[in-house]
Amino acid sequence: MAIEARPVGFFTDTSICIGCKACEVACKEWNQLEGNPPSFTADSYDNTGQLDAQNWRHVQFVEMLPNADGTASTNGNGKGAGGAAVIPTPIAGGQAWLMMSDVCKHCQQASCLEVCPTNAIVRTEFDTVLIQQSVCNGCRDCISACPYGVIGFNEKTGTAQKCTLCYDRLQNGMQPACAKACPTESIKFGYLDDLQKGADQRLAALQKGGYTKANLYGRDTSVYGGLNAFFLLMDKPEVYNLPNAENAKLPSRNNLPGYLGGAVTAVAGLVGGILAFRSARMSGADRTPR
């Protein structure tokens, strides 16, 4: 069945994610991603580490386990301001164990697309954000801009890479590989308006069931004008390494102040230079020919 050229996206419901990583595997298989060499972290079920050029889905584990002395340790996920860990809200017995299949958010106001100087990053007919591999020259400005740390640099291709929301599959009427593989339907693919309706219902059901901290991230326009890949979270966004609405800012916010600061400094610098050299001309002291 063909997929219509209108906004599509992912609704990732973290409340039913079981951390099986089927999405990661399906993504790598379909997109022929080799993956990074395996690493043994020894303190977490998260051995993928981060989203990057090889990991276009990353099942993030936010773990907090009680220590014998009554304190609690986190695995360091949920790094907030200046790298300090954001402590998740403990549930049963001082523990927290949250899972979230993270991915490119296909932001409505995409920081990566905003800065890309080559126009390699485009919005597709499905309203998703795509890096055209034949255009990208590997300048990495998009990596600097993406507020979610989604994009990675592929040393072999010399280009920036991230989730394409399986653009090739969409064009051929197939849903993205991760959504197809997810056994619990934590990752749902569909037209954005349908997904949003389903998410609203799910949130209402959870809150009715007493999960008062459950919230939708990116469902409305408060972060980056809305996210085509949005989430149902069981704790505040920072716990999952997601900037909250207050901190979700576009890179272009610094254009005007940055250039203005430069212009004022330029004027001050020119005045400083002129003051130093003008005096000699005024006094006519030096008469060495040019």
Binding site: Q50, K79, A81, G82, S111, V115, C116, P117, T118, V122, V135, C136, N137, G138, C139, R140, D141, I143, S144, A145, C146, P147, Y148, G149, V150, I151, G152, F153, N154, E155, G158, N241, P243, N247, P251, S252, N254, N255, P257, G258, Y259, L260, G261, G262, T265, A266, A268, G269, L270, G272, G273, A276, F277, S279, A280, R281, A285, D286, R287, R290
Partner: protein
């Protein structure tokens, strides 16, 4: 105010970019100093003006090379200017990298012509038509426009860092452009002072260049303070402390050097190039700690 949060990944801009930021600052700064002297300076000072234009172009030559080598696909460097998917020019005024690529091309032309003019004035006969051009009113206008682009090249690199979601860079968004520009001017004045040691100039010329150097250093010092305050308020200053304190020491020494020479008897006994070299090291250290610190 709660501290800012950043979850962005580092772009791994490293040595090539550092090299470009340093040389871009020196090129733009030298061009501006050369033009100031050309338009406002005394006849005796015109030697430094010529030297400034020459330094500016020589410093500029490696810049596009460094930028190209930093790309993952160096042969696609021209994608910065041509949108290959649309077959049109790639120009995004809201992307400092796009704007910078165009500014570099335009500034390259200005710097090159001024360089030829400086060589011509220095006696290179084959280039003599350029000597007339750079001397007249047209030359002053050319220099003024070139200065605009030169100062842009010295400054936009700071804006390029700021227009991101990286800790420190985006937190000091309004300061970095000015800071890089001011430090480019300080470093350029220092470099020209160092080079003057090998040229015969009026004593007054060096004095005036030293005065300009001090004025630029005051401006830079103000911006350094504003930078520290900005990242302090944002709660991300830790990213440029720790081991980076070594580089901060160089920045401070570089800022003090022009004043030490004019105020302290001990410093006056330093080898003549000591103060300029310290200033140049300060320029390098400032950019290094701002580029590498937040990415580490």
């Amino acid at each position: 105010m709660p501290p800012s949060e950043h979850f962005a990944a580092p772009p791994n801009w490293e040595w090539w970019i550092l090299g470009y930021f340093v040389l871009g600052g020196i090129s733009g700064g030298s061009y501006a100093i050369a033009t100031i002297i050309r338009i406002f300076g005394a006849p005796a000072d015109q030697r430094i003006s010529r030297l400034g234009y020459i330094v500016s172009f020589i410093a500029l030559i490696p810049c596009p090379i460094f930028l190209t080598l930093d790309l993952g696909q160096p042969l696609r460097f021209w994608h910065m200017l041509v949108d290959t998917s649309e077959g049109a020019l790639a120009f995004k005024y809201w992307s400092p990298m796009s704007l910078g690529a165009w500014a570099l091309v335009i500034y390259g032309l200005f710097s090159f012509v001024s360089f030829l003019g400086a060589l011509a004035e220095g006696g290179t006969r084959a280039l003599s038509p350029f000597a007339g051009f750079v001397r007249g009113t047209l030359g002053s206008i050319w220099g003024a426009i070139g200065t605009f682009f030169g100062l842009f090249i010295a400054s936009y690199t700071g804006v390029l860092l700021a227009v991101s979601n990286q800790a420190v860079w985006s937190d000091a968004g309004w300061v970095l452009g000015g800071l890089f520009l001011a430090s480019g001017l300080t470093g350029s004045a220092a470099l020209l002072l160092a080079l003057l040691r090998w040229r015969e100039v009026e004593a007054g010329t060096a004095v005036r260049l030293e005065m300009a150097d001090r004025n630029f250093a005051i401006l830079e010092a103000i911006l350094v303070v504003l930078f520290v305050v900005s990242v302090g308020i944002a709660g991300t200053i830790g990213k440029v402390l720790g081991i980076w304190i070594v580089l901060w020491i160089l920045v401070i020494l570089g800022l003090l050097a022009p004043f030490a020479v004019s105020r302290s008897d001990a410093a006056r006994r330093w080898p003549p190039v000591a103060a300029p070299v310290l200033s140049l090291l300060g320029l390098l250290a400032l950019r290094a700690l701002i580029i590498f610190g937040p990415q580490s």
